[in-house]
Amino acid sequence: MSVRHALLALLSEGPKYGLQLRQEFEARTGEVWPLNVGQVYTTLQRLERDRLVESDGSGEDGPQNRFRITDGGHDELARWLRTPPDLSSPPRDELVMKILVAAGLPDVDVHDVVQTHRRYLVELMQEWTRLKEYAADRDLSFTLVVDAELYRLESVVRWLDAAEGRIKRAAFDAATSVPSALPKLPRRVGVER
């Protein structure tokens, strides 16, 4: 979450005070990401240094200081909104590691391991859904943030479902396979150009 760009976005609506920025940031993100005052002022200082915002105060940070966005700030905000975050390389996911390890160990019931994680994820999703139910569409920002979290957790559950299916099928194939006359496929993964 880029606090820097979130503050620029709030300032693009008009000049604001530091404390006001903090309150509005928390309200707009459904109060899911708390922000302390120190973070707000440090970020504003850096934005001012980079000439993306300017203040009408005497250079001292304080509640009396009001900030406004510069033309450079508007450009930076527009650029950031349209720049996709870097999702190109898969993260080193701890859960994926655990399942890979479990699938390779003979004494571990991999289905049991998968189910333990699945239950935990669904329990988390139940909590988020309960929050969404209480918010009942009154707060769009909050509902969007909760939806994002629910989709993220759901994708992990779906991966667990798929992984469990694959592991089950692989075990079945290994138990029933007879030596095959088919040529082996190359093990290398990737596209040759």
């Binding site: 239950r119 669904v122 139940q126 909590e127 309960r130 929050l131 759901e154």
Partner: protein, 240 residues
């Protein structure tokens, strides 16, 4: 109070070498006011569990109790009455009657049960209004969108004084807003005291439930513990 209970329910399809165990000793108790989701991969037995709970099929072994009464000793007529009066069932493909309007579809179980047509129709329209479908009451199923048909099916299942509401795979992933609307309706019914069971492979739909039961190879293998209050995720520690 337990409104629906399955005790050691097994279901075997076919016989001899082609015998398939769809359910193996499943026990599940759902309290009045509770919503339970049953999750499991295809072939895990979830749909069989629901049709047996809904008395549409009979268990090979074990017992189903609806509002405390064992289903196995009932005559066909008694089971049919149970389905009209006590159990609401939302089918995967909705099973609306094409020749009846939305309101007539909803009021049908009440009329079949002897309620005067005018009163039944009024109750049907009221149920549709509660789901935001008042203006569509006189439309036929083929004039409704998929989401509207589904809500009509839920209205039909919940109309009258039902004690148990069973829903088979409400489509969620295809249309998450509609899936959510349907789950809100089902939860509202449960908050009025109905015992609900939703069968799904969709974790987002399941997460609307008070309790999620996991089924694998015809057995209950696990279940969630009831979630703490909504404030837990926004505690000062902040999980994000």
């Amino acid at each position: 109070m337990i409104a629906l209970e399955l005790v050691g329910v097994s279901k075997v399809y076919g016989e001899g070498p082609s015998e398939v165990d769809a359910l193996r000793g499943v026990s599940l108790a759902v309290a009045a006011g509770e919503l339970v989701a049953v999750m499991g991969p295809s072939g895990s037995g979830k749909s069989t569990l629901l049709t047996i709970a809904g008395t549409l099929e009979q268990a090979t072994r074990g017992e189903v109790l609806v509002a405390g009464t064992a289903v196995s000793g009932m005559s066909r007529n008694d089971r049919a009455r149970l389905r009209r009066q006590v159990i609401g069932y939302v089918f995967q493909d909705f099973n609306l009657l094409a020749g009846l309007t939305a309101a007539e579809n909803v009021s049908l179980p009440l009329e079949l049960d002897g309620m005067p047509a005018r009163a039944a129709r009024a109750a049907g329209v009221k149920a549709l209004e509660d789901l935001g479908l008042g203006e569509r009451a006189s439309r036929y199923p083929d004039e409704l969108s998929g989401g509207e048909r589904q809500r009509v099916a839920v209205a039909r299942a919940a109309v009258g004084d039902r004690r148990v509401l069973l829903a088979d795979e409400p489509p969620g992933a295809l249309d998450s807003v509609n899936g959510e609307a349907v789950m809100r309706i089902i939860r509202a019914a449960c908050q009025r005291g109905v015992a609900g069971v939703v069968v799904t492979h969709d974790a987002q739909l399941a997460s609307w439930a008070d309790r999620v039961v996991f089924l694998r190879d015809g057995r209950v293998v696990d279940q969630t513990t009831p979630p703490p209050g909504p404030e837990s995720l926004l505690a000062p520690s902040q999980k994000l």
